[in-house]
Each structure stands twice: as C-alpha cells, then as structure tokens.
C-alpha cells in the first residue's frame, strides 16, 4: 500500500498542480471570465458531500468491506462523535468523543 517513493512524489505533484490551478485561474483571468452562478451553487455542496463519504466509509467500511452490523464499535464511535459535534461544534471534543465511544463499545462488546 502507498506505492513507491516515485509514485508518491507523482501523486503529491499532481495534487499540488490541480489544487494550485483552482486557486490561481480566476485571479489570473480576473475580469475576463466569471464563475457561472449555477456552478458556484453546486460547488458550495461539494465539501458536505466529500466529508460525508469519508465519514460513511470510516464508519461502515473501516477495513474496506461494507458492513451494516449494529454492534460495530465504529458505529457507536460515530454516534458519540455526531452527538458531541451537534452540541459543542468543537472538533477536538468531537474527536475525543468518537474515540471514547469506539473504545467503550469495544470493551462492552468484548
């Protein structure tokens, strides 16, 4: 996993290149091209979509295989994190709650 050093270097250069493009292109074309309003509204939903995918994969497929088992400790960790995130809006507390929920469920589950 992770590939060789050369593959990892190419991955990082590729990510850096496309990311820089998203930051630079409108500043470079300032005034000559405007972001269409529909595209701007679509883009506003991308972070929610991307974060959800990572949460759902980490919760229901921590080892790559999807499983909807209600006894999964990861599910309880996610519920604890979600509850604390909702109440506190604090990311550090949310991480702590998620890990605590996971450990508790592991201890109870045996």
């Amino acid at each position: 996993m992770g590939g060789g050093d050369l593959a990892q270097a190419l991955l990082i250069l590729g990510m850096a290149g496309v990311t820089f493009l998203t930051r630079y292109i409108l500043l470079a074309l300032l005034g000559r091209w405007q972001l269409p309003e529909g595209l701007a509204r679509w883009l506003a939903y991308v972070p929610i979509a991307a974060f959800t995918v990572i949460v759902v994969r980490g919760t229901f497929a921590p080892d790559g295989q999807v499983s909807l088992d209600p006894r999964s400790p990861y599910l309880w960790g996610a519920l604890a994190a979600g509850l604390v995130a909702w109440r506190s809006k604090n990311v550090l507390l949310t991480i702590a709650a998620g890990l605590a929920g996971l450990w508790l469920a592991r201890m109870v589950g045996g």
């Binding site: 996993m1 992770g2 590939g3 050093d5 593959a7 990892q8 270097a9 190419l10 991955l11 990082i12 250069l13 590729g14 990510m15 850096a16 496309v18 990311t19 820089f20 998203t22 930051r23 630079y24 409108l26 500043l27 470079a28 300032l30 005034g31 972001l35 701007a40 509204r41 679509w42 883009l43 939903y45 991308v46 972070p47 929610i48 979509a49 991307a50 974060f51 959800t52 995918v53 990572i54 949460v55 759902v56 994969r57 980490g58 919760t59 229901f60 921590p62 790559g64 999807v66 990861y74 960790g77 996610a78 979600g82 995130a85 809006k89 604090n90 990311v91 991480i95 998620g98 890990l99």
Partner: protein, 238 residues
C-alpha cells in the same frame, strides 16, 4: 519621499495585522495538522511524503480525503481527480477576493493564490468588506503565511508524535480521521438541501462501494452535490 515611507510602513502594518488576525485560527488548524502528520504513515505514506503534501498541496480537507483514498487502495490518478473536484470550491473564494487583490502586481498573484485556504478566505473577506476600515491587500498575505507556517509545523510535529505511538489502528486511531470529519460536517448542516446532500452521499457510498478502483468516492461526491444543488434550485422556485 515621505509619502513613500508612509506607504511602506502602512503596507508592513497591513501584513502584520494579517498575521495577528490569523493567530486565533491556529487553535483550529493545529489539531488538524497534528492529526494529518499522525495519520499519514498509518495509510502507507512515507514521512517525507506526508510533510511534502502539507508543504506543496496545502489544502487540509483534500489532504485528509487523499489519505482516506490511499488507505482504501485508490489509484493515484483517481486521487488527483478527486482532489481537483474537492478543491474547485477555491474558485468561489478567488472570485470573491479577486477585486480586492487585483491592484497588486501580476507577479505576486501566483504566491497569493497558493496561500488561499478556507480559513484565510473567511478571515480576509470579513475584513476587506468593512467599510472605511478595510486593510490593504497585504493583510491577506499575512493571514495566508501565518496559516501556512502553522499547518506545516503542526504536520511535522504530528509526524514525530506518530513515530512514538506503536500500532495506531489497535488504539482505534484509524477512526480519528472520520471523527474529525464529523466535527467538520455537522456545523455545515444548516439547510434542507445540505441534509439531502448528506443523505445522498451516504446512500451512494454504500450502494456504489463495489465500483472498481474506489471510483465510488468521486461518483458519490458528484451525485450528492448535484442533489443538494437540485433541491436548492427546486425550493427556490416553489
């Protein structure tokens, strides 16, 4: 002569006032940088590659998603494409900051662009929009550099700390990444369209998980963002 000196000291004041405005952001950014440095090696990235990603890509959420994808065995071209889609939101920020930075010389723009992040944008646009009190464009440079230094120092510290913890998965630290995203996600759920986005993203992730090469991640993101956009458009009309 004296006006030139004034202009220069005003410029340097803008820069340092930007750095100061970014200091409270360190509280929020440092834990992510630490987490990123800790998690990089757990999915198989080398230490230098983990740090290089923070130095060169410098975009937290896409870096975390890339870790998730590397861990899930996605192909590297697909990770680059997913990074592009996630970071397209920078277009929104650049469009809104552009008019305030447009006065600067052309040769500054690549460096200024490179420092564009969610956090730097939020702080800067807030100040630029204050009538009468708005700082000069170098305020943004100060904010951006302060965020950059913090992100990379905390990534490096996280890498060192991670080297001291044996077997992160046994401790459940592989769940720190999803838990981080729960913390980022929940405050964004403020409208019906955002809940629909979440529901479609969750369902699509589970249903499409059989797609080859982790194409499911990109497909789910595009489907869910389109659903959110569609619901918002529909609610506006009715």
């Amino acid at each position: 002569m004296s006006t030139q000196v004034d202009a220069q000291s005003g410029t340097s004041r803008d820069f340092w006032s930007g750095v100061r405005a970014a200091l409270p952001l360190w509280l929020g950014i440092t834990p992510y940088g630490l987490a990123f440095g800790l998690l990089g090696p757990t999915v198989g990235l080398s230490g230098p590659a983990t740090l290089a990603m923070s130095l060169l890509v410098f975009a937290g959420s896409s870096q975390f998603i890339a870790l998730g994808l590397v861990g899930a065995g996605a192909s590297y071209p697909l990770i680059v494409l997913t990074t592009l889609v996630i970071n397209l939101r920078h277009l929104l920020y650049a469009a809104s900051l552009g008019p305030y930075l447009g006065k600067l010389p052309e040769r500054w723009k690549p460096a200024l662009s490179f420092l564009l992040t969610d956090e730097a944008y939020a702080v800067t646009i807030d100040r630029f929009r204050q009538p009468g009190m708005a700082p000069g464009p170098l305020f943004y440079l100060g904010v951006g550099l302060a965020v950059y230094v913090d992100w990379n120092v905390s990534t490096a510290v996280g890498l060192v700390l991670g080297g001291l913890v044996p077997g992160p998965a046994a401790l459940g630290l592989d769940f720190a990444l999803p838990a981080t995203f729960i913390g980022l996600l929940v405050p964004q759920l403020r409208s019906r369209a955002s809940w629909v986005t979440l529901a479609v993203a969750a369902a699509a992730t589970l249903v499409l998980s059989g797609l080859p090469g982790r194409l499911d991640v990109l497909a789910a993101i595009i489907l869910a963002a389109s659903a959110g956009w569609g619901v918002e458009t529909w609610l506006r009309r009715s």
